[in-house]
Amino acid sequence: MTAKGWKDLVLIGVLVLAAAFVPLVTDGYWLSIAVTAMMYIALTTAWTLFSGPTHYISLATGAFFGVGGYLVATGMSDHDLPFWLMAAIAPVVSVVLAALIGAATLRLSGIYFVIFTLGLAEMIRGLVSWVQNNFLGSRGLYVLTDFTEAHIYWMLLAIAATVYVIGWLIDRSRLGFAMKIIGNDEGVAKHLGIDTARAKVLLFMVTGFFSTLVGAIVAPRYSYIEPNQVFSPELSFMVVIMALLGGTQKLWGPIIGVIPFILIWETITASFPNATTLYLGLCFLAIVYFLPNGVVGLVQKIIAKGRSA
């Protein structure tokens, strides 16, 4: 265990503590931005857990997020089940799902996996609609709770912190070591006797668990769930873009990516309500052009420059 690793953990602990006070300072506009940012921080950190070391670009976030929101809504409004029970069941369902998907696709090389996950959200949306239509029926998907934005924010913060700690632990475990070798050269990893498929599937299940939990926690914020909105492919892309902006080499990279991204996005939507997509596109171009290795890469470059000078 290096001192550096502990330093990272302490730093994150301090950040989490500071972040916990946000709802006490503001409760309107800035809190609603903070909730959105925290949602993406939890999702991107969970994404980086798997995609960072393996370099498999997963577009499955929308599918897992959707399962979370959808199960909570259908459980609460069609079967009168309590929110907490559904929020506990949904991630377990996703873990099983992730295991099945992982077992079927993660033996393939990267690009097949990307294409498969791209269609996953749509496939699962179709599947759950089909089950609901033919077997369960529905009276509308309402998630009416007494949670305020502050409650949702704290729950998301707790998830984000947990994901980080789990990532930190994995990083220091045999599994983490195996993932690093797989990321560098899968062939070498296999020759060393690492069960690469098992390692990848395990990590994919962890990512699935937490992405779904985020979807379940955010459902009360939407109050009314429409399947084509929670199973949104756009969400999957946003998560990838934010993670890349931050940099995926470090687990804390996404945090650095999400916050500026949310602020830029907000400035654009508020200033140019009729041309958001245009300016967003320009921003993407600027990010790729100026920050090819993300903010983390830039920071590291500056530090390296400072040392050599």
Partner: protein
């Protein structure tokens, strides 16, 4: 990076910024009343919102400003609109409403477009006391929602009311001996479609009908011919589809191709859109659908003429009129209170009756029971055939082929 590339990149960046700031320039007028709105201009719901919601907002603001603005105690004030696109995304919507309430500090907010968005935004309207006159929001939870959110109003009816409206049409025709008791029912396997079908099954059966065909299709299915062929193979006189806009068009097209020979043909959402009439012309004579208006009252005629004149397109035959009426209600209540006192305006809406293009509207437990549930295309106009408390319903006619 050498100095020259740095220079060229910086120049490119600055040019972009300059262009951006030029495009976003908006004039700020003094002494206005600020009204905000968030609705989709892009994304899946944009098509509907650009027919039923945005043109009415534009029309209303133009009319109010033309006559000098809203009459308040300290003089007339013109409306300054602050509008955001929610991209049909609930997260974006919530952020935008928060921004309107706490950053832009608008005086009033026009309710959102779509059931989900009205419910998702309701906690924010309630928190800052903005009256929210929801129009395009059809739910069976009106009671629970209005209890939870004291400034939320409903104007378009409930899911059950829509099904019962159609049931009444079918029962009347069956009792007159014009149709048999067999129904072929299909639904889009998505939120609202599943909900409507779920309500319809026991409702139709309790009224003595037999569902001889009950099928669903996934949202976005490009090929609906098996569905229509399946319905054609039965001996049902009535075809009922709990459909969304794309499949309303798709099913009708297939029915024409297959020459689906039924006496009652019903499709749900978007049947009332002018584009539907525009696409099928005389073929859809006597097609039934969700919604309806009474286009013959002088108020409605004046509204339709003015709508076309100002926005360049015709309003739909359903939610457009309700949306405009909701803005009239807001306008009357604000002028009656005479100042920007949102709680007083909400109270005024709860306790008064309003003259609108749809006739007098009042709220009982924050719900208006004046709306159309079923309409029918007759002679190129989609007329209301079943309503809740509105006069002017015309008699239902039987579908006679797809000439």
């Amino acid at each position: 990076m050498n100095r020259r590339t740095l220079l060229s990149r910086t120049t490119a960046g600055l040019t972009t910024l300059a262009a951006a700031s030029l495009l976003s320039f908006t004039a700020l007028a003094a002494d206005t009343i600020r009204i905000g709105t968030v609705a989709p201009k892009t994304g899946p719901l944009a098509g509907g919102a650009l027919v039923s919601q945005w043109p009415n907002v534009d029309l209303w603001i133009q009319e109010v400003n033309e006559r000098g603005g809203l009459k308040l105690k300290d003089g007339q004030k013109k409306i300054e609109l602050v509008a955001y696109d929610d991209k049909t995304n609930p997260t974006e919507h919530i952020k935008a409403v928060q921004r309107l309430a706490t950053q832009d500090k608008v005086d009033f907010i026009i309710a959102p477009y779509g059931t989900g968005f009205n419910i998702a935004a309701a906690p924010i309207y309630a928190k800052y006391d903005y009256p929210q006159i929801a129009v395009t929001s059809v739910t069976d939870q009106i009671g629970e929602l209005t209890e939870r959110y004291p400034s939320l109003f409903f104007t378009l009816g409930s899911t059950t009311a829509f099904v019962e409206g159609l049931r009444d049409v079918l029962v009347k025709l069956k009792d007159e001996g014009k149709i048999n008791n067999k129904i072929a029912m299909v639904n889009v396997a998505d939120a609202f479609g599943i909900e409507l079908a779920e309500v319809a099954r026991p409702t139709f059966e309790a009224a003595g009908f037999e569902l001889v065909y009950d099928k669903s299709y996934p949202l976005g299915t490009p090929d609906l011919s098996p569905i229509v062929k399946g319905a054609k193979a039965t001996d049902a006189d009535s075809f009922v589809a709990w459909s969304y806009p794309p499949d309303t068009f798709g099913l009708t097209e297939q029915a024409v191709i297959e020459d689906l020979n039924v006496k009652v043909f019903y499709t749900a959402v978007a049947t009332a859109f002018p584009a539907y009439g525009g696409k099928f012309g005389a073929q859809i004579e006597n097609v039934l659908g969700a919604g309806g208006v009474n286009p013959d009252t002088p108020e409605m005629q004046a509204y339709r003429t003015k709508h076309e004149e100002v926005t360049g397109k015709a309003p739909d035959y359903w939610a457009s009129a309700n949306t405009y009426a909701s803005l009239q209600i807001l306008e009357t209540a604000i002028e009656a209170v005479g100042e920007v006192n949102r709680e007083a305006v909400t109270d005024y809406i709860k306790t008064h009756t309003f003259d609108t293009i749809m006739g007098p509207i009042s709220f009982e437990n924050q719900n208006s029971n004046r709306f159309w549930t079923v309409g029918q295309w007759q002679g190129g106009v989609f007329r209301g055939v079943v309503s809740s408390n509105i006069d002017g319903a015309v008699d239902v006619k039987l579908k006679d082929g797809w000439k």
